[in-house]
Symmetry: C2
Subunit: 213 residues, 2 copies
DNA sequence: GATTAATTTAAACGGGTGTTTAAATTAACT
DNA sequence: AGTTAATTTAAACACCCGTTTAAATTAATC
């Protein structure tokens, strides 16, 4: 049933790397299959279409991250009753960094894929994520809402999407930003350092009181 | 020298709309020229290439926005000595909304174009913006730094890019988010309402004290 | 009004895209 | 081993892309 290192896996490995760094539509199946050293037609044979390959690439990460994230959130919630926003966001660090064990650079690849997915393909991936992982997402949202009860639900909806934009854009530009930061400030940040920078920013933004003017 | 409504302008008008809603590489010259009701070859005749058309589309907005934004920031800075971050960010609202007078929906189109530019074309547009409008950008950055002197420069560099990600991603997804918000919370936000929501979030995030652990 | 320049047009160019096909190969099973 | 199923392969398909060309048309200049 399987060949040398599984054609399916070789395709996924090559695809996720290219998708993350150049985007979905900028990455051709011919480039993927040549990097993976498999035949062009094998993508359609194993995945059916490019669109389904994209979903498979994302699913491989979401299937690991989402359950782990939900577990960490629940663990927080069961303990000191109400966790701070910083604690809730920080609880996602471990699940995120564990993706590095799945694959080298897995954390940043995952976040970049997420961003590409949300921005490039209006809808179809957003639908895929919310329908397949809606339960886990709800766990996270509930914890955030409980931690910032002074923010009305509608406002929280917007702010959580602000956080998504913050982290997703940051990770998509992480390499370029790191280069500039290194040149201008002598800073060298890895993925974890950037995540730890962005969390206080997001937590403060989500919790800031709503002006009623 | 000019025909009915200037072929050049017809192309720019059609292109910016399509670029904003589908991205640069997802928008073909054939689609642009058919919407603009001009000949396919006229893009290359008037602009030289697709890449130069993209820059021309962005420049038309940046040339209006950047000077206006710098003026507003300077006006703030000369008055009550030190403006709050909320005031500084809010000073950008007027220049942003004035883009709606340039063209219907100009504000959101501009912000969406900016986001597409930063995410899609790693580098070449980023270079174009910083070299052509660096002075105006510096005015803004200086005001922010002065308003939050407790944030080290290197940290501020990252946080300002967080804000860029926040607003750019939000605007790129604005239509989709608005649909969800309308369905789930009965909310109907225009571009200005979303901008006014995002500013407190960004201001709080930029100013939050840095943890030294 | 004739001549020159600027613009528009239709057509083709060369190349890249995702997908499909049918034959060749490899693996699995009785 | 022989047969069936799964996989890999090379080639072609139909289509879309940005760009270029050369002729037709329109505008400007003398």
């Amino acid at each position: 049933m399987a060949s040398r290192t599984d054609t399916k896996t070789r395709i996924l490995d090559a695809a996720e790397k290219l998708f993350a760094e150049r985007g979905f539509s900028e990455t051709s199946l011919r480039l993927i299959t040549s990097k993976a050293e498999v035949n062009l037609a094998s993508v359609n044979y194993h995945f059916g279409s490019k669109k389904e390959l994209i979903r498979a690439v994302l699913a491989r990460y979401l299937d690991v991250f989402m359950p782990n994230a939900a577990i960490e959130i629940k663990r927080l919630h069961n303990a000191p009753e109400d966790a701070s926003l910083n604690e809730i966001f920080s609880a996602l660090i471990k699940p995120l960094l564990e993706l590095n064990k799945v694959r080298n650079g897995g954390t940043i690849i995952f976040l970049q894929l997420l961003g590409r997915g949300y921005i490039e393909s209006q809808g179809h991936l957003r639908w895929f994520i919310t329908t397949h992982y809606g339960e886990h997402l709800a766990t996270f949202v509930k914890a955030v809402v409980a931690s910032a009860p002074h923010i009305p639900p509608a406002e929280m909806f917007w702010r959580l999407h602000f956080t998504l934009g913050t982290i997703v854009f940051t990770m998509a530009s992480a390499d370029a930003l790191n280069e500039i930061a290194a040149a201008d400030y002598g800073e060298h940040n890895n993925t974890e350092a950037i995540i730890r920078k962005v969390i206080p920013y997001m937590a403060a933004g989500v919790a800031v009181p709503v002006l009623n003017n």
